[in-house]
């Protein structure tokens, strides 16, 4: 119990450190168990220093920086214990264009040696352009959803459609 949690924490922490540096193009970060000596009781604190900035708790970062750090954490947990499917609902919303590209790069790297199938819900045209395929959800009839296959070139029309 306790030992498995500790091993698991170390694996998540290592992936988190690695993914943070990948997404932020530098800087340092680590996870910290707080409020208790017992790994089964402790809380999880996230310590980050983006490139060129001081080490601080997550709460001092910008909205987009916080989202990016949270993404690094989610992927670190995922990589520690991979699942056959991964679904991401609009996690790219607060990211600027350059960070959206890094987010997509990281997904491609993670997929590389896992059989996981990803479903990625997004409003972001950059993310859309980097998917292997696209489905559109429409409500031609009010209140009734339908699924349609979308041509990657038609992606921008899809997003505009009401």
């Amino acid at each position: 119990g306790r030992e498995r949690m500790t091993k698991s924490f170390e694996s998540v922490n290592n992936y988190f450190k690695e993914f943070f540096v990948t997404l932020f193009d530098g800087g340092k970060a680590h996870l910290k168990l707080v409020e208790s000596e017992d790994p089964l009781e402790a809380g999880l604190e996230i310590m980050v220093s983006p490139p060129g900035k001081k080490l601080q708790s997550m709460s001092l970062l910008s909205g987009g920086e916080q989202a990016l750090a949270a993404i690094a954490l989610l992927f670190a947990v995922f990589k520690t214990n991979p699942a056959p499917i991964c679904v991401l609902d609009e996690v790219d919303a607060p990211l600027d264009d350059s960070n959206v590209h890094k987010f997509c790069d990281l997904i491609e790297r993670i997929i590389d040696n896992l059989k996981t199938r990803f479903l990625i819900i997004t409003h972001n045209t950059i993310t859309m352009s980097r998917m292997n395929r696209l489905y559109g959800v429409t409500m031609e009839e009010k209140g009734v959803s339908q699924l349609v296959s979308v041509d990657l070139e038609r992606a921008s029309d899809m997003k505009e459609a009401v």
């Binding site: 999880l44 947990v77 996981t116 819900i121 339908q146």
Partner: protein, 160 residues
């Protein structure tokens, strides 16, 4: 086992039978606000045995049943089917959850009634479940950022 496709009928805004193929690599899902994208995510959690209506934006589980529009009457039945394939791509297992208004949920594996627990265990063997960190809902990033250290540790418990 690979997740091969999901079929949704009568679940929230997907009143008509809808099938989403889950292929290798990355599949993007796009569309305007309110068109049903997050409903797809929730149908997946639900068929994996989600036990809390609140976690899928309902006040009671009957809230997942299509509740009608100006032009269509509400329904009394919702069903989500998840098809799992073996390594050759054959649909070996069909997991199904159905809910009937005021009569609760039924769970089926390959057409045979099972308990919710059996269905949750099947997914646990595949290293996934309705509360898995791999299913990142629309508010999840915000809640990780805003949660206290004690609340955040649930993410770690997923990994262990």
């Amino acid at each position: 086992m690979d997740f091969s496709r999901i079929r949704i009928t009568g679940f929230k805004s997907f009143v008509d039978p809808t099938e989403l193929k889950i292929s290798q690599g990355t599949t993007g899902i796009v569309g305007p606000n309110g068109c049903g994208k997050s409903n797809i995510v929730e149908s997946l959690k639900w068929v994996m045995g989600e036990s809390s209506a609140k976690r899928i934006r309902g006040s009671e589980m009957d809230d997942v049943i299509f509740n009608g529009t100006d032009r269509r009457p509400s329904r009394n039945l919702a069903e989500v089917q998840l098809f799992l394939a073996d390594n050759d791509g054959n649909d070996e297992v069909v997991v199904s959850r159905r809910i009937e208004r005021e009569l609760g949920s039924r769970y089926l594996i390959n057409g045979k009634d099972v308990r919710a627990r059996d269905l949750q265990l099947l997914f646990a063997d595949e290293n996934i479940g309705s509360q898995s960190t791999a299913l990142v809902g629309q508010g999840k990033i915000g809640s990780i950022i805003n949660s206290k250290p004690q609340e955040r540790r649930s993410i770690l418990e997923e990994a262990a």
